[in-house]
Symmetry: C2
Subunit: 355 residues, 2 copies
């Protein structure tokens, strides 16, 4: 008999096909609610082709509306904002946040496009990815080009979007495997994104670890060399020198998924091989429903004009019912398994060794 | 740190109030789907007052339409069809099904009404409770008085009712704690029912045990006395002599909830005290949504004419998503806990005993 976690993951896969449902058109609120109830993703190809954003957002237009606005840009060495980075000195892993700068949108877009057209080595990787409702704040000039809400989601969930986020970057940025407490409607405007999805019951596969926190920072830092390790970029076009990871030794450790479905033999747990990642590519004009608590890893390819651009809507998850409690339970059982000592076989009524 | 099962049940109760939601009127399909998604019950007082069944079903009318039809009746000593019965000889428990007879509906209703009006000891307990879509078969003459489906459920779930069941009995019948693989819309026509509900995550509280099966049968049985035990009725008005439980020693054992939320100190598990049973009384004309996989125990009180009558609609559960897999997981972990040997404390690098 397999252990309960193995049974759980197997049963889940027996009951759920390892594909993302494809809908012909946007669902009704009721149809959407069925997907929410099942906590299952779907994709709607060409769903947002009538959005002004889809029709108008080329580099000129964006520069025209946003050119002089200062926007927050995440800068990393390898396109790895909010990611696990391996220390060069020992085997330890660190959860690394990006170096953040403000720059005029026009300059930011220039360097994204320049990096995409360059055939030689380019500088640090930039990504506008603030995830703080930026489309209703920093990028408010672009807001009229997208719906203020996704009607089927607003009606089904009985709430307005909690955040609307704009994402702009180049090929090199990847968002590492993580999960969010949001129902996510993700809409692709320019370029393409590859999503790799894992259901919440696959938590035992992702090798969650408590990691120290760090942040990319320009070299030379003021900090003590012993608390930093180099993972630097090689060339710089942004006024930022080489970047290195600065450990924040005061910060509390954070639980981070360290398994990468694209390198499935590395950093495995006893359950990683049971994972059946769903893969879906969003093309220009497509919409994805990414349900609460699902793990997702996202990489991207630029469109004709050398940038990737997407908009997503986050709606608060419901914590009613048993879903959230059940997911926490999976985690608890997983953690208890990690802690459980491996007892020696007990010998009944007999020989002992040593003593 | 509490064990994972304790955490699960506590987290569930922190996130969900221990009351049954009360709606002012029947929900829309979308509102219903929200309850299905949360797997949470609700009651709608007075929801079915416009049903012909609610307006017309008195004893005369029922006798008029159904009087000569043969109907299947469950007979037990104590009103305990499909229930756990304790052996008088040892402590063992048996899952006992009722003795079943066919009789003309008129005679059945007579004896229900007679038992309700009698102040002295009455005979065996009868209950029309076949749960096999009986309203569309045995009781088809009554079918035109109820809707062919519950519209909000049919639309939300995208299916027709799998079964429509009629229940007729007296005060003495109780349906023991159990769960079904159905979304259940339960409608009270005459008399009242008290429901005690437990969510699926409270599985560790209900002390599920693998029990031998038995069936009530008239005495004297042909069977070997060693495989039967007496639990008999005292007086008989139905041509049935005293009943005793006949063990079916060939039948496979069945998993049965043996904890009774109304006797919470008996047959407990380590988790029973964490249960927070929801209690709701259905009065004449009320409707209850009882979600898939919820444990329920049901007792009843007759209406003015000395009988209880209800109609319920069963819709198939969805096994998509993680709910079913998560509930099986709770059960698996619970069973693994039962099996886990209690290891002695390990002594590190030292003395051993015995040997
Ligand atoms: O587009 C990306 O890079 C990541 C998207 C994401 O993580 C999200 O929408 O939650
Ligand atoms: O009404 C009863 O006695 C029991 C009802 C029940 O168990 C059900 O509807 O599933």
């Amino acid at each position: 008999m397999a252990d309960p976690l193995t049974n759980l993951i197997r049963t889940y896969h027996e009951l759920n096909a390892a594909v993302v449902d494809e809908l012909d058109e946007q669902p009704s609120a009721l149809e959407f609610m069925r997907h929410v109830a099942a906590n299952r993703p779907f994709v709607v190809p060409r769903a947002i082709r009538d959005w002004p954003a889809f029709q108008k957002w080329d580099a000129n237009y964006l520069r025209h509306l946003m050119g002089r606005e200062e926007v927050k840009v995440a800068i990393t060495s390898l396109g790895n904002a909010d990611a696990v980075v391996e220390s060069k000195e020992d085997d330890s892993l660190v959860f690394v946040e990006p170096y953040e700068v403000f720059e005029p949108f026009g300059e930011f877009l220039d360097s994204i496009q320049r990096s995409s057209s360059s055939t030689t080595e380019v500088g640090h990787v930039k990504y506008a990815q603030t995830q703080n409702d930026n489309l209703r704040h920093e990028y408010a000039s672009l807001l009229p080009d997208v719906p203020t809400d996704i009607p089927f989601a607003r009606i089904a969930l009985g709430q307005n979007a909690d955040a609307i986020n704009l994402w702009i970057g180049d090929d090199r940025s990847t968002t590492a495997l993580h999960k969010d407490n949001y129902e996510n409607i993700y809409c692709q405007i320019r370029g393409e994104k590859d999503f790799v999805l894992l259901s919440p019951v696959e938590m035992p596969c992702v090798n969650e670890q408590l990691l120290a926190r760090g942040r990319y920072a320009p070299v030379p830092p003021a900090a003590d060399a012993a608390t930093t390790f180099y993972d630097g970029g090689k060339y710089d076009d942004s006024g930022v020198e080489a970047l290195e990871v600065q450990l924040d030794s005061d910060a509390e450790r954070v639980p981070v998924a360290t398994w990468d479905p694209d390198e499935p033999e590395k950093r495995t747990t006893a359950w990683s091989s049971l994972a059946k990642p769903l893969r879906v590519t969003l093309r220009e004009g497509d919409m994805l429903y990414l349900p609460c608590f699902w793990y997702h890893k996202v990489s991207q390819r630029v469109g004709d004009e050398g940038f990737v651009c997407a908009v997503n809507y986050w709606y608060d998850c419901s914590f009613e019912g048993s879903s959230f409690a059940s997911h926490s339970f999976v985690r608890d059982v997983y953690l208890a398994e990690q802690r459980r000592p491996e007892y020696p076989e007990l010998k009944v009524g007999g020989e002992t060794e040593g003593g």
